[in-house]
């Protein structure tokens, strides 16, 4: 079929020339990509110029922010809350107690009650620990105030009876006041009076 052969040749030759790009496409493409690449590179530098200082500032803020006190194992808490320790770290423990939140009752492991951790209240809720700045130098003892000096002098010089009287007076001051209930009797009405 010569007609069919001719059509096939026509199709093949047309397909060879199908979608021919414009002349110099390669150079034009390279130039365009180089421009785009440099533009995106500039954009990348700009992003870096913004991101790096922001990141640095964030890191600085995190570093300078006051740190929360570290968790303390229950055994250590128990030793600090039982009173003065005889171990060499006693001074250290006392110093830590000053910066810690409200003390909690901790019982020994043999007790039927569970150990309550220092950051839990009575109901078992977790309290946010109060963060206080850590002091680099242990605070030195301050000179006594006038009241403290007077108290010391009194304790040294006063007799036994005077000291007992003072303690008794203090106890009375500290005792809760008992106020009896007030009862008001209603006034008799005029008719009752007349009768």
């Amino acid at each position: 079929m010569p007609e069919r052969d001719k059509i096939d040749q026509l199709i093949d030759s047309a397909l060879d020339g199908y979608a021919e790009p414009r002349a110099g496409l390669e150079q034009w493409m390279l130039a365009r990509m180089a421009t785009d690449a440099s533009r995106s590179s500039r954009r990348g530098w700009l992003l870096m110029a913004i991101a790096v200082p922001v990141f640095g500032a964030l890191m600085l803020m995190i570093y300078l922010a006051p740190r929360a006190p570290h968790a303390q194992p229950p055994s250590q808490i128990a030793s600090t809350s039982r009173g003065p320790s005889t171990t060499p770290s006693a001074e250290h423990s006392v110093g830590r107690l000053v910066t810690e939140p409200a003390p909690h009752v901790v019982q020994s492991s043999g007790s039927s009650h569970p150990i309550r951790h220092r950051d839990q209240d009575v109901d078992g809720h977790t309290n946010n620990p109060v963060t206080r700045p850590k002091e680099n130098i242990f605070p030195r003892p301050q000179p006594m105030t006038a009241e403290e000096q007077a108290m010391t002098r009194f304790a040294a010089e006063a007799s036994e009876s005077d000291r007992k009287a003072l303690i008794e007076a203090q106890r009375r001051v500290d005792e809760p006041l008992n106020i009896s209930a007030i009862s008001i009797v209603p006034l008799p009405s005029l008719e009752d009076k007349q009768n």
Partner: protein
């Protein structure tokens, strides 16, 4: 390292730009969009260092180019859907119709217009098959279809072109 300073990549662009253009044009049917797709294809290859792949370079390039063109067409169709210039599509095409091309004795242009009018699933395998570097198996790998399907589609595309061309020629010489 910049694109110009990379002689290997520059050589690849110079060697394969036309090939990539033809692949993406078969999908997009628009020279301007096809150029954008060519650029996107090469930039993609440059950024992920895919261009260093030495095994079966034409098939690999054609696969990347075809996917890039399909993605670009999807993006373009999304943006034109909301565009008020949609009415432009309804305007008469400036390109000559197959009949006009044939009567002006520009037979190649007539066949090109007929190829453009084919469905994409027939057009893309046909255009890829015209490239000497690709056989039916590679075309199947590029498009993600079996080799047998590629052959069936090629036969179908050629059949349609033959019928339409024969009809046009009959009209012309009648």
């Amino acid at each position: 390292m910049t694109i110009e300073a990379d002689p290997g990549f520059t050589a690849l662009v110079e060697r394969q730009s036309r090939f990539v253009f033809r692949v993406v044009y078969a999908v997009l049917l628009n020279s301007s969009d096809a150029e954008d797709a060519v650029q996107e294809t090469f930039l993609k290859l440059y950024r992920n260092h895919g261009w260093r792949q030495e095994e079966n370079e034409p098939a690999f390039l054609a696969r990347v180019a075809w996917r890039t063109a399909v993605d670009l067409r999807r993006r373009l169709s999304r943006s034109t859907e909301s565009d008020a210039s949609l009415a432009i599509d309804q305007m008469p095409s400036l390109q000559p119709s197959p009949e006009q091309a044939l009567t002006s004795a520009n037979e190649n242009a007539a066949v090109h217009a007929l190829i453009d009018s084919l469905a994409e699933e027939l057009r893309v395998p046909l255009v890829l098959s015209a490239m000497e570097e690709l056989n039916s198996r590679q075309i199947g790998e590029i498009l993600g279809i079996p080799e047998g399907t590629v052959r069936t589609r090629l036969q179908r595309a050629r059949q349609i072109l033959r019928e339409k061309l024969a009809s046009l020629m009959e009209t012309r010489y009648a």
